[in-house]
Amino acid sequence: MEKYDVIVIGGGLLGCFTARALTRYRLKLALLEAREDVCTGISRANTAIIYSGADTKPGSLKSEMCVRSAQTFANLCSQLGVRYSPCGSLMISFGPRGEEVLGKKMAQGKANGVRGLALLSREEVLSIEPNVSPAVTAGLFAPEAGTVIPWELGIAAAENALHNGAEFQFNSAVTRIEKVPDGYVLEAGGRPFHARGIINCAGLYADGLHEMVAKPSVRIYPEAGDYYILDTKASGVIRHIIFHEPEEKGKGLTLVPTVDGNILLGPSKIPSGEKNDAFPTSKEGLEWLCGLAEQVIPSLPMEHVIRSFGAVRPNPFYVRHDPDTGLLHRDDKGISDFILHETDGAPNFLSFIGIKTPGLTCALELGLYAADRMAALLGNLQPNDAFNPNNPAPLRLKELSEEARAQRVREKPSYGRIVCRCRGISEGEIIDSIHHSIGAKTVDGVKRRTGAGSGRCQGGFCTQRIIEILSQELGIPVCDIQKDRPGSKVIGGKDHG
């Protein structure tokens, strides 16, 4: 049985950044991920915003981490070779209730140490965002907000962790954890692992894993959400992240001009109760988005929608065992701050349960927090002097000058052959993504790493070619290439051809 100092469960943003932070110490470390790749869970379906830190209460861990993260995010991205768009955010109101909220957030943001916040008049809002509905009354501008591609960030953190010594085990769902005198024995993907300490970053399923070693104390009550993505043809309609503060009570709409030049719209809020990691969309949610979009940005070209997707919010609540009924009793209010859960009977077992917004923004900070706590618990750890925080960015041809690009094509002709016509991605970039240290193994893996298949034709032209390239580069038959999870083969029918 392989023995480790620390095992991280789950390869979402939190798991990847926790693993990266742990490699600052000299220890033997593995990350166990149930799926075939990193960032296929909540980290794949969220709003992609780097929050300034004006939205949360002063004095909380969340606010402290968020402000620090936002102010250093560009730096983190350049370290990891990840694209970042520091576009700023604009919260807009449509009447006195909304204006009051803006005022509150302004004060709260100042107390949290957010820089550059400014209350804008209606005219000022319309001058920087001319397509916002003329019914707007005021705005709160936060220059230090931005947007990133969440999985691009997570993959880079994972690769950096790998280069610094972490091991990654995919298709390794942890199904059993047993407490033994010198730590824990886990069963994952049918194999046993031993670890002195465990950090549970299993996203939607973190409560279940926690309960493998502890009594129920925190449970996740999920809630669904829906998003729309607009084609890059709509880019320019908005320039900042827009938070709509509705006049009536209820949720407002969020719009994000993404790093790739699309517009992201969402999320809706749909009570669902289901931990469905296939993330289905709902009719109510999508209709709600369309309705609000028309109110907030009347000229938003909804004919340019190219895709919708679903998300699941992992809402955490404290639960207590009710001795009278024998049932679990849930607190009325959910847990709002970020908490790294520990339990008396389970030493060196740390759990992130239900880390919601701004978990993406704070991924670095949360990872450092968990790693340092684990280091303190294990004691006597040496720093890893060889730790290198930098990760080389993949070659992105579109970012090069014409001369530099032409030179690349001369050196490697496959950089000249365009496979994804909508995003302009070359065969060479797809091949690179497959041979990266945490390389693509599936069609969706290629899409997350290169963008190929995510444009206006949604893979209609290139999916077959991408499958053929995967087959050739990985040396496995075309009929064994999966779209994403096991059982999702594209060619060869439903695993029977």
């Binding site: 289905p280 000249g416 052959r417 949604q458 209609g460 999916t463 779209k483 594209v490 051809g497």
Partner: protein, 359 residues
């Protein structure tokens, strides 16, 4: 930077015809750029017959029709770059080309003809909820997988949309022994050509369910089923299937033109033809128009003046889409209404004396 008189983008029937038209009008420095390794465009994957009746008086398969034009082009000293994409068309008329062998180069032409065809509308543009597992394909992508890849990609199919490509795929999959549970159409009548409805669906007992649509996809890894809604009474039912094919519309692929025009009007030096201009039902129309556009572009190169766009031949379209219920001839792609003559019935457009009535 290399120069040429006319740059043609796309080597499908439209682009090939444009080259021929420009050549015949006296233009000599012509460059044709095609993304694929071979010329022919969408025709390469259309293995069914039904092409070229108006032009050649015979029914050819797509590749046969394409071959006639490829051979004519090969006889001319025009430059053809295959395996090369135009990735940018700048407002000054410079095109940026990218290819594995041809490298990355700028080409400046006096006139550019965009013949880049069309793309299929993806499912994401429809109000279909649920999951997005493996097993959802657009009809054209499915056609390419079967006909150019030889791949098998499902057993039990639901086809959403009764466009021509969808119906042609339904027939082909039925011939391969697959189960086609139904073709669903949200309108009250078939969306494609009447002759395709008869030849591809009716003859194979494939049910066409009009006023029906898919509202939800089920399955997490692979498609497991779809929810089908009857739009006339609102009734919903679950249909188990492992593959969903969508044939819900084609969109002209002319982003390069939008780029060159900078959002405004098309520059004078830029021409569009074939499916990049509007979606055509018949390849004969595409060829005819392509040649006319080629001549017009050659004229522009010579005179520096753009004449009014050549009239678009649209005559066959109404007849082809013969109203459901009306008897048409299904012997050829024109699908003419039947007219009574002294000697019996004949096709109104093609004059065929041995028409095959649809009913």
């Amino acid at each position: 930077m290399a120069d040429c008189e006319i740059l043609v983008i796309g080597g499908g029937p439209a682009g090939m015809a444009a080259v021929l038209g420009a050549w015949e009008a006296g233009c000599r420095k012509i460059l044709l750029v095609e993304r694929s390794e071979q010329l022919g465009g969408i025709l390469r994957q259309c293995l069914h017959s039904g092409f070229g009746l108006a032009t050649f008086g015979e029914e050819l398969t797509g590749p046969e029709y394409a071959r006639r034009y490829i051979q004519r082009l090969q006889g001319l000293p025009v430059d053809i770059l295959t395996d090369t994409s135009v990735i940018e068309l700048k407002p000054d008329g410079t095109a940026l080309l990218s290819g594995a062998v041809s490298g990355l180069t700028n080409i400046k032409a006096a006139a550019v003809i965009l013949a880049s065809g069309c793309r299929e509308r993806p499912i994401g543009t429809l109000p279909v909820t649920g999951t997005r597992p493996s097993g959802i394909f657009t009809a054209g992508a499915a056609q390419k997988m079967v006909n150019l890849g030889g791949y098998d990609f499902g057993q039990r199919f639901v086809i959403l949309g009764s466009g021509d490509v969808g119906m042609i795929m339904a027939r082909q999959l039925a011939l391969l022994g697959k189960t086609i549970i139904a073709v669903l159409e949200k309108e009250a009548r078939c969306g494609g050509l009447e002759r395709n409805r008869i030849n591809c669906l009716e003859r194979f007992n494939i049910p066409l369910r009009t006023l029906c649509t898919v509202t939800r996809v089920h399955g997490s890894a692979r498609v497991e089923g779809v929810t089908v809604r009857n739009l006339s009474d609102g009734h919903e039912e679950y249909i188990a299937c492992d593959t969903l094919i969508t044939s819900v519309g084609l969109i002209p692929e002319r982003e390069l033109a939008e780029q060159a025009g900078g959002g405004g009007a098309l520059p004078d030096w830029l021409y569009l033809c074939g499916n990049a201009c509007y979606v055509h039902d018949l390849v004969d129309d595409v060829t005819y128009e392509g040649e006319a556009i080629g001549r017009a572009a050659a004229d522009f190169v010579r005179t520096g003046r753009k004449k009014a766009a050549p009239a678009i031949m649209n005559g066959t379209r109404t007849a082809v889409n013969g109203k459901a219920g009306k008897t048409i001839c299904i012997a050829c792609p024109k699908g003419c209404p039947l007219v009574k003559t002294d000697t019996g019935w004949s096709g109104a457009l093609c004059g065929r004396k041995d028409p095959v009535p649809s009913e």
